[in-house]
Structure formats: structure tokens, C-alpha cells
Amino acid sequence: MTASIATSQTILVVGGGISGMTAALEAAECGKQVILVERNATLGGRTALLYRYFPKMCHPTCGMEINLRRIKANRNVRVMTMTEVLDVKGLRGDYTVKLKLSPRYVNSNCTACGECAKAVDAEIDNPYEYNLAKTRAAYLPHNMAYPMHYVLDPSIIGTQDADKAKAACKYDAIELDMQEEVVEIKAGAIVWATGWKPYDAAKIQPYGYDRFANVITSVEFERLANPHGPTGGKLLRPSDGKEAKNIAFIQCAGSRDENHLRHCSRICCMASLKQTHYVREAYGDSAKSTIYYIDIRVIDRLEDFYLQVQQDPTVGFIKSKVAKIVEDKESNLVLHGVDTEGYHRYATTHDLVVLAVGMEPETNGIKLPDDILLDSSGFIEGSNLPAGIEGIYGAGAASSPLDVNRSVQSATAAALRAIQVVHKTSTVEGVR
């Protein structure tokens, strides 16, 4: 890794999820030089962990395949995984960015043959399964991983397992002495596309996410529904592995709540409606989904998706913010609250509860450049600098709680703003 290729003409994109990949590709396909940095071992971000998209019920990996093919075919994009931004200095047109490269312990000789994983005994929680499953400590993040290289978990470095992995590799791909590196690069403009994370459901005390095994989050439910996920696509309760057939979806879990996230996370209504399709896909008429909601926010032409779910006799809707959840002896969950349509109290039992957790910007907890302006929820609203001298742009879910379609739109717009900066810089420098 050398820093020499980057210049003030380079656009740096931070975050390799769908927004970052899009921003990088759209700029690169306009002929710009782009460096795309991603903290994790693979591109794809959270969308790669979704089972299906609403409203088409198609698979995120289909679009990812196209985007990866675009990246493979484009020499203007340089991808750096396991890389975090430590520090940004400078101004529009001339940023110096300090990057931290964490060791993968596997170099690009890796052919993804998988022999190292077979050799290693230690297992770790699989972050690409939201820790619902274990994986060997030498692993490929997922089938669509890019780069298609294994990773050694740092916990086995210095153990026999690491030596076994190295011995199993015929291609000199494992480098156990790989060290963390800090490099500096130059960039003319920066697109900040660090995305979102699910709100910590344990903080919503009355819902007992940290106490009740069968209260899970919507992102975890995506993994359960996925045939490549921890349950092979079966909707099984964590407590006893039984099929969950009476599932409650609780909307606004953390969102629209001044004690938690003050914003509406936009995607959760559609996500839960979509997930009722998973229940139907798994069980047909023999299971039931119930959505507890305040308002069903399916914006614009997605309305027909809502209508379609409303017509499904296995799906019920209750206008209510659930007050609390109590677990019974069979680890079922009793939801308490008031149905505000008619003001009826209820205490309804379900065998699995899915919390439609809100989107918290990943910007929280990351050191950001000083000139990034955040709104009250931590989304990137713009720049502290006056218009015309800013050079860092938020994109996708880092800038607002957005669904994939709108994130891509936002990332495409951010890419143009970044191109404007490098164009103007080069015009001033007389390069163009």
C-alpha cells in the first residue's frame, strides 16, 4: 500500500456499503480516480446482509453482483478494505487523510480455496450473521465477499491455530506478521458514506431484548429468513429452536422517541411489511404476523405493497405503541398495551417478537472531520463551511435514514459534488 497514487484529483469515498460503492463507481465511470475505503473485510455493508429488498422482493446480492463487476472492470477505483479514517486535514481540493490499515493476515495470493478454515479449530461469533452463528476464526465474510480473500481473526494470532492456518495454505497467502499500518493519502474531495447501525435494542428496557431470548431485531430476522443464514432460512426461535409461527413486529423500536432516536427511521415500516412475506414464504397460511404500529409509513408508490399485505389474512395490524413485554414459562412473550383505535387494552401472546429497530447513523462514535455538520440525530446535514469552500459530502444513510433506492440516489448526487471539487481544483491548477 503506497500513498503515492492519490493526488488532489482523487476522490476519497469512506464506507463500502451500497452508498459508498455507488458513489465510488459513479465518479469512476465519469473518469475520476477514486479510493474506496471500508472498515470491514469486505464491501457490501449492511445491504449484503439483507435477504430480500422491498418492494420487489428481489435479492440485494443481484445488484451487488453488478456493482462488483463494475468495480472489477474499472481501473479508476482502488478498494482498500479493513481500512479506517483516522484523521482528515486540509481543505477542499487538498485534503490529507490518515488511514489505519488493520492486518487481515491474508494477502492477495489468497485463492479462497478454504483450506485455512478447515485447519483452524477456534470459532468466533460471526459478525456477518449479527453474531447469531459462529464461524471458524479463518473465514470468508460471505459468498459475495470482495475482495474474495479469507480473513484471520486477530484472536488466533500467536496461537497454534494461526500456525495451522499458515501451514494449510499452499499459496503463501497467510502472513502472520502482518502489522497495522498508518498511511497518509491526498484527496481533493471526500464522500462520507459510513451508513448506519441498528439502534441498540437493549436500551429499550420494557422490550427486554437483553433478557428474553425470543425478542430479536429486524436485522437479525433478515438472517433467519436467509437460506444461507444461521438457520438455513428457517424461522426458528432462539430459545428452543422451535418454529416461530405467531410473530409480533414492533414498529418504532427506538425511533420517533425522544428518549432514544428522535427521528423516524423511514425504512422500518416497509421492512416489517416485507418480513411478513418471509413468514408467508415459510409457512403459507399456517402462521400469523401482527404489526404493532403508530403510523404505517410506506411512502409514495410503495403504497401498493402495504395494500397487498393488508389483504393477507395472516397479517394483522394493531395501532399501538407496545408498553411492555413479559416472558411466560414457555419463553413466549406477552405484549401489553392499548390499541388506540377504540382504546382497548390487550395482553397478547406471541412466540417471537421482532423489533423494527431504528437506524442510528454510524457517524456516532467515529471521529469526523471538523467541518462536517451533524443534525440532532447525528446524520450528516452538510458542512460547517460556507457553500463553495466545502469539500466533504455525506451520502446515503450517513446523511439521513434512507432506504437503498434513496441511498443510491443520494450517493450519486454526492459523487457529482465531489467531481465538481476536483474539476475546479484541476482547472485552477491548469491540469484540465
Binding site: I18, E26, C30, G31, K56, C58, H59, P60, C62, G63, E65, I66, R69, R70, K72, N74, N109, T111, A112, C113, L140, N143, M148, K170, Y171, H228, R262, H263, C264, S265, R266, I296, R297, V298, I299, D300, R301, E303, D304, L307, K319, E341, G342, D375, S376, F379, G382, S400, R406, V408, Q409, S410, T412, A413, A415, L416, R417, I419, Q420, T427
Partner: protein
């Protein structure tokens, strides 16, 4: 051009050497594949292996290489030789990772690998390195149609990037819908108060920008050409026609509001019932003071009815939600509260939809005393000096009444998207058949057209659901079906100003990108950067028009003799035309009837007594082929009797491949493509559908050959179906085994 020199490289890494007889593969490449140079390597993708190939290209003048190693999706960074034609024989994901071991398996596995090497060499001999479409032009300016917020934003952002823009607006001034607003919904923290629209400032910046030329009172009379060379006739109000040209187009033609008179039950047409637009007029007139009705009376109470004529499931009104109306009503309620907190403002809603930071705006309204009532209005009538609203209060579960000086109906956005090209296509067929009426209807339709494209497939961008000229794809919101023309703002999807601004900025990028790509002779999304392009041998053409009709992107026109006219810059390189052509005169340099046909014919077909059927699999390269690859990655076993060829799209499959395969003794053909129907997943729109249709037509041919129709079968395969796809293969092989060998075997 340099003389063709072929080379094959056979890797024995990743277990290939242990499980396959690599020297035999090398022999096949040399003897049968007729490769000039054949090399084995035990780790082809490492620096040394790659250097070996580079040296051959430089020193041995190798121009064509076949890499027999892993899947074409793997190790692309290593196997990146941009100056030569390349094929990949997939021995790893396609053979050793998916075929059982031991016993008879070793033999069939080797046969499978042998065939893939034969196929890789056969394809290579027919492939050329694509050199880019030579017919490119260099126009890089944009035309933006529509001078509202979306259009002005697209124009301004493109100009700020250094591109010249022609901005066309049919009205006498810029500003569009937003110019009619008193204030806009806030787009910045603290999201508490209505904000200035900023329209005047933006219009001023646009009008004075040195790279933007604004045409007011102007419409588009004709658009011909293609990305990089659009030729446009602009019609001015005076009747004058101005001819301009552009590299790409952004269509930001916005929306009209749903006609309030279609809602008589909600008081549409009554004196004291207005829509959002009507209220903006009153608010502008009040200029921050007390808002008065048309009759001059100060409004002391107002009721907003959400979803008026929207979210309608009766089929009478708009079925969709327009997205912006909840926030717009909140904003308008604030107009009243800010001028006089005593005004009684009630918003009657079903679901209050203010996503994101809109929630803060909603809170702010509640703090200001705006009342929100969950309910459904059934009737609005005149009562006294105002209106009476009858509604069902959904919280109290009771019928209720509200009286107000004014009722505001939150009606929806109707896209200004021009002609429905599906309807156009129907009329074209009828008109071609001699219908005078259809001809007449066509010329009437032309009056509402926006772009007046001279394309054979109709004068406007195809519409999707509800008339919006949207993309069908979640990951690619700008994937329109007319290359180099991008829609932005509410013509694409119902949206508010903030989203329209973002959307227009993105569309400007896509338009710039399309013009840049066209100038380099390259394809646009989804095969971005592809330098191959359709080449047609017109002397063989029978003017059957299938290519011009079936092209999903309207790339092919017809000349006066009904020969196809290819506009390569409009082409997305899917190959649908190639699949459609009955006389096989259309090809791409690296993807043609021959590159695939030669592969099909290259394999060794065991005789009918061998009990080794051969099944050809034509797999969509975007979904089915990766699913098969990932089956390999997960070591899911499937039959070694299949021979898989990736295709750009099932739409590109020419039936000659099927009949050739069956004629040469294959026992069956599996075609694997994306989901079809309303929620189609094909990025080339109708590839799977066309393939299904074409296959339904070859039944007779099969019967004529004495073959069962089941010997050709199509399958829908999603990219996640790696386990399922193996099941499809195994079941189909079992079915064919049951059926017995193809009677065509042994005739060759």
C-alpha cells in the same frame, strides 16, 4: 491488426492438479483446441504466473488467451490483460468444487474439465478484443427539460461541474411548482419552521450562469440521435424552431396536481375548499399576515384532509401516496398558526407520514397547537359561512363532525411524463395494419409528448407504475430504458423538494457520465465500460423487424426500406437483438452466435450407450451464473453431465444454439434466467420473458426433429439460489435419464 496468436494457460492450483489430469487438459488445448501455445502452471494467479502470461503477450505476440483455472468471476485483478481477447474455462467453481469424488465420478469429472477446456479454446477462436464503437461523437453538453426546482438543480449542478447546459422551460419564467409556494418544508436542523423556497436565488444563479442557456416559452418538438449526438428541435412560442444538439438529456418535467373537481364528495369544487396549491395562493397573498379566503374573510379555522384522492383502493383516484403531503399540510397549518396562534387548525389523517427528520417538524407543529386527528373523511359540504367535514374518528371509533372556514384537500402528484409508449406501440401496429383511426390517435398523442423522440419505439421514455418514468431497479434508480436520458424529480417518482434536489443532482451526474461514455464508444450501465457493440451484416438482413421491436432500449430504428438502423450509443449490449435475429446477422466482437455456437459444438458427445447424457446450460451471467459459482464455493454437488455457458441475458439466446445443441446430440438444454413478470428482475427488462416466448415457439421444430419438447426447459434462478440451482440440475438430469438418450445421438 496483429495476427491472431492463441495461448492456453492451465492452472493446477487449488486442487485442480490433484483432481484432474492437467497434462491431458494441456494436450486437449493443443490438439483439439489448436492453441499455438499451451502452458501449465501450479499457481497461475500469483505474480509469477501472471508475469508468464504478460511475457507471452509481449514477447510471443500472443493476442488471444484462454485461462483454464477458476471462474471468470474470480481473480479478476490478477487475470487482467486489457490488450488481448480472453476466455476463462471454469475448472474450479465449475468442476472440482461441484462434482463428487471417487468411483465413476473421477471419470466424468475429467470429461467435464476436458470439455470446458475445449469450450474455452473454441470460444477464443471466434472472439475478438472489442475496440469500442467507432461511430462516436463528442458532444458532452446536456439538455435539461423542465425549469422547476429539479430541472434548475440538474442544470446548475452540471454547469458547476463544467458542462454546458441547454435548459428548456415551457412557461415564461423559471421556477415551476416551487415558485408558487409561500414557503417550503424545512430541510435543515432544527426542522421546526417553514423556510424560504430559495427559488428566486436558484433561478437567478441559473439564468446568469455562463454555461447555461435558458430557453423560455419553449418545448421540445423533436429529439433524434443518441447519447453523444442528440439532435433537438426546440419550438418557441413564436413558432420559431431552433436546432440544438446535446450529449445527454435530463427530463425534469415535474407533475400536475390531481384535479380537485374529481373529488366532489370531499367538497372539490366548493367555494371554500381548496387544494395545497390553492392555499399557497392565499398564503402568498397574505404575505405573512392573516390568511384570508377568496371572499376576503379572515380564516379562523381550517381543516386539512390528507390523502384526498390518494391511497385510493377503489380504482377511481390515485392509488399511491405522494409522499410530501403530510409535511406540506403541517407546513400550511403553520402558516396559520404563525400568523395567528388562535386559528384552529386540524389535520385529519390516516397515517401521518413524515419520515426522517420530518418527525421534528411534526413535533414542532404539535407544540404550535396544530391538532392531528386520525380519521377518514367521508363528506365535505357547505355549512353556514364555511364547510362541514364529516369523518370517522378512528381513535374514538365514532362518526364526527368538524366545522371550518376553509378545507384544504391534500391531493397528489400526477407525473408529467408524456406519451405511454406501450399504448403507442399498440397504435403503431394498428396503423401499420392500415387503421386510419390509429394513425389519427397517434398524431393526437404526439401533442402530449415531451421529448418527441423519433425512436421507432415511441416518442417518450417508457413509464413504469402509475405513469411515473421511473427505474424498475432498487439498486439503480437511474436505470431508465432510454440510454442517455434520465428522469429526475416528481416525474420519476412522487417526491418533495429536498428529494427532488438530490435526485436532480444524481441525474445530472448520470447524464454527464452517459455523454462521457458515448464519446469513448463505451456502454452505459449495467455493462458500463463494455467496449463491444452490435455489428450487423445488413446484406443478410431480411427486414423482419424483430430486432427493432424487441430491443428493450429502443436502440434500433428502421430506415425507409425497413432495414434496421443501429444507434450503438443507445445500446446497452444485452444482445437481445442477436437472440432475436432469425438470420443471425447481428454479433458483438466478443459475444456472438459463433462464440457460443462454437463452444456448443466443441464438446465431445458420448454415444447413446454410454449412459452419460450431456445437458447444455445457458445461464444468465448476472444471477444464474453467480448462483452456480456460489454453489461451488459452498461445495454443493451437482451432476457432471452439464456444460454451462454464461450468456449476457437469456434474451440474447439465439434459437440456433438450441437446435445446434440438440442436433449434435445433447440430451437437453436448460436455460436459466431471472424472474419475469411484473416484478421482473432482468436488468435488460424482458430477457427471460423473450426467451420463454421464443422457446414456446420451437416446440414444433423439436417435434420435427423427433424430440420431446421437455428437452428444452427454462428455469427462473435468483442469485441466492445456489442450493436450489443444483437441485434443478440434478432433477432435470434425472428426468432426461428417465427419458432416455436423445435420438439425435450418433447422427454426427
Amino acid at each position: 491488426m496483429a495476427e491472431m496468436k492463441t495461448a492456453a494457460y492451465i492452472c493446477s492450483g487449488c486442487g485442480l492438479g490433484d483432481k484432474l489430469d492437467v497434462p491431458q487438459l494441456a494436450k486437449i488445448a493443443q490438439k483439439e483446441g489448436k492453441m499455438a501455445l499451451v502452458r501449465e502452471h501450479d499457481f497461475l494467479c500469483n505474480a509469477e504466473g501472471v508475469q508468464m502470461i504478460r511475457d507471452d503477450i509481449e514477447k510471443e505476440a500472443v493476442t488471444h488467451i484462454c485461462i483454464a483455472a477458476c471462474s471468470r468471476r474470480a481473480k479478476t485483478e490478477a487475470f487482467n490483460f486489457p490488450t488481448v481477447a480472453m476466455t476463462r474455462a471454469n475448472l474450479r467453481e465449475g468442476v472440482i468444487w461441484v462434482v463428487s469424488e471417487g468411483g465413476d465420478h473421477d471419470e466424468v469429472r475429467q470429461e467435464m474439465a476436458d470439455d470446458y477446456v475445449r469450450m474455452g479454446c473454441a470460444e477464443l477462436k471466434k472472439a475478438k478484443m472489442p475496440e469500442g464503437n467507432p461511430n462516436h461523437t463528442h458532444l458532452k453538453n446536456l439538455m435539461v427539460v423542465g425549469g422547476g426546482i429539479s430541472g434548475m438543480t440538474a442544470a446548475f449542478e452540471a454547469a458547476e461541474t463544467g458542462y454546458e447546459v441547454i435548459l428548456v422551460e415551457k412557461q415564461a419564467q423559471l421556477g415551476g411548482w416551487a415558485d408558487k409556494l409561500w414557503k417550503r418544508v424545512p430541510f435543515k436542523a432544527p426542522y421546526a419552521e417553514p423556510q424560504d423556497t430559495g427559488v428566486a436565488e436558484l433561478a437567478a444563479k441559473v439564468s446568469s450562469h455562463p454555461l447555461i442557456k435558458v430557453y423560455l416559452n419553449t418545448t421540445v418538438a423533436e429529439t433524434s440521435g443518441a447519447p453523444g449526438r442528440f439532435a433537438i428541435k426546440l419550438a418557441q412560442e413564436s413558432g420559431a424552431i431552433t436546432e440544438v444538439s446535446a450529449g445527454a438529456i435530463v427530463q425534469a418535467t415535474g407533475f400536475t396536481t390531481y384535479d380537485i373537481n374529481k373529488l366532489p364528495e370531499l367538497g372539490g369544487g366548493l367555494e371554500n375548499v381548496v387544494d395545497h396549491a390553492g392555499l399557497e395562493v392565499l398564503a402568498k397573498a397574505a404575505n405573512g399576515g392573516a390568511i384570508k379566503r377568496a371572499d376576503g374573510r379572515e380564516i379562523k379555522s381550517v381543516v386539512f384532509l390528507q390523502c384526498a384522492g390518494q391511497r385510493d383502493d377503489t380504482g377511481r383516484h390515485l392509488p399511491y401516496c405522494s409522499g410530501h403531503c403530510c409535511a406540506t399540510s403541517i407546513k400550511q397549518a403553520m402558516y396559520f398558526k404563525d400568523a395567528n396562534p388562535e386559528v384552529n387548525t386540524v389535520v385529519v389523517y390516516d397515517d401521518l407520514r413524515v419520515p426522517g427528520m420530518g418527525e421534528d417538524f411534526y413535533r414542532s407543529a404539535q407544540h404550535k397547537g396544530v391538532i392531528f386527528a386520525k380519521g377518514n373523511a367521508s363528506k365535505v359540504e357547505t355549512a353556514g359561512n364555511g364547510c362541514r367535514v364529516n369523518y370517522r374518528d378512528l381513535i374514538l371509533d365514532a362518526d364526527s363532525i368538524l366545522e371550518a372556514d376553509l378545507v384544504v384537500l391534500a391531493t397528489g402528484q400526477v407525473p408529467s411524463s408524456g406519451v405511454n409508449v406501450v399504448e403507442w406501440d399498440k397504435l403503431t401496429k394498428e396503423a401499420d395494419g392500415g387503421s386510419v383511426e390509429a394513425k389519427q390517435q397517434k398524431s393526437e398523442l404526439k401533442n402530449i409528448s415531451i421529448l418527441n423522440l423519433t425512436y421507432r419505439q415511441g416518442p417518450d421514455v417508457p413509464k413504469l407504475k402509475y405513469g411515473f418514468a421511473d427505474s424498475h431497479f432498487i439498486c439503480f434508480p437511474y436505470e431508465t430504458q432510454r440510454t442517455g436520458i434520465y428522469t429526475a424529480g416528481p416525474v420519476r417518482r412522487p417526491m418533495d423538494i429536498l428529494q427532488a434536489t438530490e435526485d436532480a443532482t444524481g441525474a445530472a451526474l448520470k447524464a454527464i457520465q452517459a455523454a462521457e461514455n458515448a464519446s469513448l464508444g463505451r456502454a452505459a450501465h449495467p455493462r458500463a465500460g463494455d467496449l463491444s457493440y452490435p455489428i450487423v451484416r445488413l446484406e443478410g438482413c431480411t427486414q423482419c423487424k424483430r430486432c427493432t421491436v424487441e430491443c428493450p432500449f429502443g436502440a434500433i430504428d428502421e430506415d425507409e426500406k425497413r432495414f434496421p438502423v443501429f444507434n450503438e450509443q443507445r445500446c446497452r449490449r444485452c444482445g437481445t437483438c442477436m437472440g432475436a435475429c432469425p438470420v443471425r446477422v447481428i454479433s458483438f466482437e466478443n459475444y456472438s452466435v459463433d462464440t457460443v455456437g462454437n463452444q456448443i459444438k466443441s464438446i465431445e458427445i458420448p454415444d447413446e450407450f454410454s449412459e452419460k447424457p450431456r445437458i447444455l446450460v445457458l445461464a444468465c451471467e448476472n444471477d444464474a451464473y453467480p448462483a452456480l459459482d456460489m454453489a461451488g464455493l459452498s461445495r454443493i454437488v451437482y451432476s457432471a453431465f452439464v456444460r454451462i455457458i454464461p450468456v449476457r441475458c437469456l434474451g440474447s439466446v439465439n434459437t440456433i444454439w438450441i437446435t445446434d445443441a440438440l442436433n449434435s446430440g445433447y440430451d437437453g438444454v436448460m436455460m436459466m434466467g431471472c424472474k419475469k413478470g411484473d416484478e421482473y428482475q432482468c436488468h435488460f427488462v424482458k430477457g427471460s420473458e423473450l426467451a420463454g416466448y421464443r422457446m414456446s415457439k420451437i416446440g414444433d421444430t423439436l417435434t420435427g426433429m423427433g424430440l420431446e419438447p421437455e428437452r428444452v426447459s427454462t428455469f427462473e434462478v435468483a442469485i441466492t439460489d445456489n442450493a436450489k440451482v443444483a437441485g434443478f440440475i440434478n432433477d432435470y438430469v434425472a428426468q432426461l435419464v428417465e427419458m432416455g438418450p436423445s435420438p439425435m445421438k450418433g447422427f454426427n
